[in-house]
């Protein structure tokens, strides 16, 4: 009888020990799926078989965020914006701590600088008329995308790199989104003119007014240099670098008279 009780006690104790050992075993096993969702817990999104899965609340956040945060190449490497406006919103939404957010910023800044340097070296610029240029930006075979993704994976692991990629629209990060969110390479025409107003409205018009129009196929984007600097406009700044900067554009701009007496 005593033996049965001893055996029963031993068996129970054994279960407890086995239970704990099983716990120890599982702590050593990493499940990528759980890690991925944990990281994206503020932003539950994942990709499986090339399908993006997201819940409804996450959807509203993710789509809203891609507009409000506006992660783009010029905002990381361009003048004035370090870190860019949407950066903190984005890293907070992804649940990154301050160290991760810093690494995130460094990676995006370096990738942006590298891409813009590549563009400067490889874009073909031709002046086709006074104040008018044709700019050809070639494709890079996906090198910029690939390198950025590699760096993110190195720094954050595959599990975190994926929610970042999906919610940051990394495919579009290097695009010239002001022309078109899908525009990465192709031919653009940049025209500029120095506008002057005559007639009754002359006194209300800024004295030094340079207008720039960028055309891609049938779409035209325009902006003004205003204070004489391109840095206020991201697209202007990015394309201006390829031509030779603000001053070249200003100096080449032919005069154009608006208004008149009638």
């Amino acid at each position: 009888m005593k033996t049965i009780w001893k055996a029963l006690a031993g068996w129970t104790a054994g279960i407890a020990v086995g239970w704990s050992l099983a716990g120890l075993r599982t702590t050593e096993t990493k499940s990528p799926e759980v890690t991925a969702t944990r990281v994206g817990s503020l932003f539950p999104i994942r990709s499986q078989d090339d399908q993006i899965q997201i819940d409804k609340v996450g959807f509203t956040k993710a789509v809203g965020l891609s507009f409000t945060s506006g992660l783009s190449c010029e905002r990381y490497a361009g003048p004035g914006a370090t870190p860019p406006t949407g950066h903190t919103v984005f890293t907070t939404s992804l649940g990154l701590d301050s160290r991760q957010a810093e690494a995130f910023h460094r990676i995006f800044k370096e990738a942006s600088e590298a891409r813009l340097a590549w563009e400067k070296e490889n874009a073909r610029v031709k002046e086709i008329a006074p104040g008018e240029w044709e700019i050809q930006i070639p494709g890079d075979g996906g090198t910029a995308d690939r390198q950025l993704m590699e760096k993110l994976t190195q720094a954050f692991g595959r599990e975190l790199a994926q929610p970042i990629e999906l919610s940051a629209d990394l495919d579009g990060f290097f695009n010239l989104e002001e022309i078109d969110p899908d525009f990465r390479h192709g031919t653009l025409r940049l025209r500029t003119r120095h506008e002057k107003m005559e007639g009754p409205l002359a006194s209300t018009f800024p004295p030094d007014h340079v207008r720039v129009a960028v055309q891609s196929e049938d779409k035209i984007v325009t902006f003004h240099l205003g204070d004489g600097s391109l840095s206020g406009n991201q697209l202007g700044w990015r394309l201006g670098r390829l031509i030779g900067g603000d001053q070249v554009i200003r100096d080449s701009a032919p005069d154009h008279v608006l208004g008149g007496t009638n």
Binding site: A22, T27, V34, I52, Q53, D169, I220
Partner: protein, 290 residues
């Protein structure tokens, strides 16, 4: 007859065997009883932060949306191409609820004063025929039959909701620059209209596309399905802001003398005579007290 020493050894041997068997049982049992079975213990505290929808087998809604219908019970699935489009061009996919209620189409045309030098603004025109469905049907890849069914579904929904809201709208001023349009005892009918839309979308498009349709077009945000429509006028510095949740907020200089009430399409079908002037005066009085 066995000696007591042999008996003791046998007894300890049995116990040892039981312990070993017990360890095996415990080891085998634990993973089976853990929720999600494969979740590592080290991640358990973090795993609890994972929404149930993700931790489980499928993605489900968190329940924050007001619609409790078939399409909201599942998560959303998009192809990569669709996801990219949503991130880059989602405003183009949106459908304004007011366009369904008034069965009209809003057409924006760029105004070019100087051809070749870009647009100087947009002119907006309203025409009959319900909202433009081309962007969303292209996004979902719907054929003409489905597009036609979708158009009919939206038209029926617009008529139904317009009638319920128009017949039951009750305007109530709160004397602080805000007002509320409630729908009396017809809350249940309104909910039914939203649920019927949902059910009919599932019938015409299938559950998956119905769910994607509602998410991408943002036809029914929470403000649209809320039990009342709130109107609010507030003053910030020298500017007046007039807002209806879900509509574009109108911000005009205080002394402009004009109230752009025509822009609030969301309440136009109600045929109410909203006294915006009164709301503006109340908002001014409130601001001057501060």
């Amino acid at each position: 007859m066995p000696s007591p020493a042999i008996d003791r050894r046998k007894s300890w041997g049995t116990t040892a065997l039981a312990v070993v068997l017990g360890i095996g049982t415990g080891f085998a049992l634990r993973p089976l009883t853990s929720p999600g079975s494969a979740h590592p213990a080290a991640y358990s505290s973090q795993a609890s932060e994972v929404p149930a929808s993700i931790a489980g087998a499928g993605i489900q809604t968190s329940g924050a949306t007001k619609l409790r219908s078939r399409t909201t019970e599942d998560g959303l699935t998009f192809s990569r191409k669709q996801w990219r489009e949503l991130q880059r061009k989602s405003p183009a996919l949106q459908i304004d609820l007011a366009d369904c209620l008034l069965w009209q189409r809003t057409i924006e045309t760029p105004v070019e004063n100087d051809p070749g030098w870009g647009s100087d603004g947009y002119s907006t025109k309203k025409t009959d025929g319900g909202p433009a469905l081309e962007p969303i049907t292209a996004f979902l890849g719907l054929d003409e039959t489905k597009e036609e069914r979708l158009r009919e579904t939206l038209k029926r929904f617009g008529e139904r909701l317009r009638q319920i809201e128009r017949e039951n709208a009750q305007l109530e001023y709160r004397s602080d620059g805000t007002a509320r349009i409630g729908f009396g005892g017809e809350i249940a009918s309104r909910h039914e209209a939203f649920d019927r839309l949902d059910g009919e979308l599932v019938e015409s498009l299938g559950a998956r596309d119905a769910s994607r349709f509602l998410a991408a077009t943002r036809l029914l945000p929470d403000e649209a399905t809320a039990d009342a429509i709130e109107l609010k006028v507030s003053m910030t510095g020298n500017f007046l802001s007039m807002a209806i949740p879900g509509s574009i907020e109108a911000i005009v200089p205080r002394d402009s003398g004009s109230i752009p009430k025509d822009m609030f399409m969301r309440v136009q079908h109600l045929g109410l005579d909203i006294d915006w002037r009164r709301l503006v005066e109340e908002a001014e009085a409130k601001a001057s007290k501060r």
